[in-house]
Symmetry: C2
Subunit: 445 residues, 2 copies
């Protein structure tokens, strides 16, 4: 029992270190440094006195916090002005930057107004100007700007039709980018010839620049032709609004401009810099685990797949470590990132992180010195007040003594109601950041 308590405290301590490291302010501090008027961003240097004006813009749930950090770093006087679009109530006080609140995950007209202002800011910036763009998760929905004469409703109708056909997120994005005036690198084109530093807090597996917030400052590999191929693949040529069809047909015919492709001159003065990501979160977890005396072992930052099977494999590795010292000797901290999926089988209440802990609980039942932990770095997990959950070798039997059958709860995806009475929930409240999930398996000697 004492071991279990220590493991739980250690896991919570590691998770706190992860969330701390992923804070927007910390992310900015780690990647941006101002020294004698020179802004060091990643591997590049920007002599601020060479720029006529510095603007701040961007979109995303954590963008207000990113903006506050940049204001603090540069000092308000160095900033000419700016506008950012954030989710309702995701604001912090800013001095020089205007905040537009809009709707997430379903976009609304306030988002369209905000996007127009962001686009206008990029367009009016000139040769001698510097734009610092702050992009974070949710940015795509928060910054909708259909190309006229398309309406937001028509664009949303198209997304819905594609979702209903089972189109992949990549396919849907290829279409959406070609109906938008800002996505797929188009903000970079508007900003050119200004200099752009885009700071990205990534909530996408593998940190692809063209996917995070639909890549407003990143080259787009998809084309009108590939977007149209998606529409045809799902037999939607007459299933999407006429204006959407017309827009894509014009694009295929070469009558309207493509999104900018890799190598396009508009990217010459653009730097996209990942300032926070799941990979960095996993690093933070490794450091803290090592401080606590564990041998950290990162399995992968790009874990995907059905949650319960991912959990079984994590548990199998933990059992192996306990029994044979492979792939590493205890005290061991297995760490993995990325984002799994849950196929809903029942009408339970939970999220992928809690389901991970529940599925793992079954496979580590009875083992001494093993703890499985999973939580969302944004502090939320599905439609529950928890960020995730943890389980150890006693979880299943303690549940049974309360009349709770773990297998039964897993079958109904009812992980929240399983862990709630057991005290296995991780509850943090909103953390102000999002770099996906973190999973830990602690194995004590």
């Amino acid at each position: 029992m004492r071991t279990n308590r220590r493991l739980r405290n250690d896991a919570m301590s590691i998770f706190r270190a992860v969330v701390d490291a992923a804070q927007p302010a910390r992310a900015v501090e780690r990647h941006l440094r101002l020294e004698r008027g020179v802004l060091h961003a990643g591997s590049r240097r920007y002599r601020l006195d060479r720029y006529r004006r510095v603007f701040i813009t961007g979109c995303g749930k954590a963008t207000a916090s990113l903006a506050a950090a940049v204001e603090k770093l540069l000092g308000p006087r160095r900033i000419e002005g700016g506008v950012i679009v954030v989710k309702d109530e995701h604001t912090v006080p800013l001095k020089r930057i205007e905040i537009v609140e809009s709707s997430h995950p379903v976009p609304d007209e306030r988002g369209v107004m905000g996007a127009r202002r962001v686009a206008a800011l990029c367009e009016q910036a000139g040769e001698g100007d510097l734009i610092i763009a702050l992009i974070s998760g949710g940015g795509s929905a928060l910054l909708p700007l259909p190309v006229p004469p398309l309406t937001l409703a028509e664009k949303q109708q198209t997304t819905k039709a594609l979702l209903a056909c089972g189109a992949s997120i990549h396919e849907i994005n290829a279409v959406r980018k070609h109906l938008s005036a800002v996505k797929g690198g188009q903000l970079a084109r508007l900003a050119s010839p200004a200099t752009v530093i885009a700071l990205l807090l990534s909530d996408v597996t593998g940190d692809p620049l063209d996917v995070i917030a639909s890549g407003p400052f990143a080259p787009d590999e998809s084309t009108f032709a590939s977007a149209w191929a998606v529409i045809e693949k799902y037999g939607l040529a007459s299933g999407v609004p006429a204006a959407v069809r017309r827009r894509l047909e014009q694009g295929v015919a070469g009558l309207v401009a493509e999104t900018p492709k890799p190598g396009d001159p508009c990217f010459e003065k653009v730097q996209n810099l990942i300032v926070g990501s799941n990979a960095q979160a996993v690093e933070a977890a490794s450091r803290r685990a090592r401080e606590l005396g564990y041998r950290p072992m990162v399995l992968s930052t790009t874990i995907e797949g059905e949650t319960r099977d991912v959990a079984r494999m994590h548990a199998a590795i933990a059992r192996e470590a306990l029994n044979s010292g492979r792939p590493g000797h205890p005290p061991l901290c297995l760490i993995s990132g990325g984002e799994t999926t849950v196929t809903l089988r029942g009408n339970g209440m939970g999220g992928r992180n809690q389901e991970f802990a529940l599925a793992a609980a079954l496979d580590i039942a009875g083992l001494e010195g093993v703890l499985a932990f999973s939580a969302g770095t944004d502090g939320t997990d599905g439609p529950t007040p928890a960020a995730g959950a943890f389980a150890d070798g006693s979880t299943v039997s303690r549940a049974a003594s309360l009349g709770l059958d773990a297998r039964d709860f897993l079958a109904r995806n009812d992980s929240y109601r399983f862990f709630e009475p057991l005290g296995g929930l991780v509850i943090t409240g909103p953390t102000g950041t999002n770099v996906m999930d973190i999973r830990l398996i602690l194995v004590a000697p």
Copy 2:
């Protein structure tokens, strides 16, 4: 392309080393040694001249080969006689040991006759005798012996009813052991007070002695009460044959003997020794991988879960290794054992190993220097002529150029028909052993 060819050859070489190491003869050689009349088995010593007679018995698909190895080791003159039960056509020439062929996976009356002879051999062995029992996969079906007056048909009917209700294999075994005269340690009771060395070639995850061939020489934790609880749980009290119900009721009432439990004196002179297992196969893979210049990393020998999700996680670890050198730097050979499951979604042709390679193919598509390999050590994989398959970063695109859509084939569980035209199948024919599956992910620098 050259890299892919090398990776493929390396994977095949590692798999051959695994199958070689798992050969019954090699397994016996590794664990049994005869020196100046003393038989060294595991950590114990047996002075053969102290035993009046040495008998050989056992059951399983690889048991004839195990018997040949023991005959060769001891020399035929040292063996008084013996009888083993094997699957049809799984025989090899033996000098002092009789072979009974019976049916697998569905037992038949020949198996019952064979089981009677094995039981009689154990019963007639006395205080000064040594029995070497050779147990391998399939032994449970090959050695059926319902307790009179139960018939084989009644026992099979019970198994079928339990399977139809979705009972777990552990639940089914609890019932079956209490309807049998040999399973669940009962051969050990018959053999007592003779000395027994049981050599087991394990085809079960984690090598539980009471599960391999239903544990004829291992203590049984299940009871008549737990067997009856299973019957009641699935509402089968009146759904099983009357004779079965009567047998279990008598057991619960204490009117017939329980299977022997841990600590029972009948196990005092019994040694159960695992001579071949998935863990040993994984060791052999590690050694060969190291010889070929790879850093071997065993993830687990107890991998279970849905094949395609297990594949995704293996691929995610490979991607991480390629990108960040975690959890190990290339050249890396990730190794895992155990046995996954496949939920049938289509009417395709394949097995869990080929499905693993197909699912992994999708997740490593386009990567250079990664190969995913999975094969059954028995040389078979589902109802196909292949043992497994391999895939690399070019598999999905090469398939596409032949008009084969990998996603489509995976959706239909049609992995055999996917790999057959591509040349990605592993074909070995029957290997004469079975220590479950082996999966390899090779990552070249």
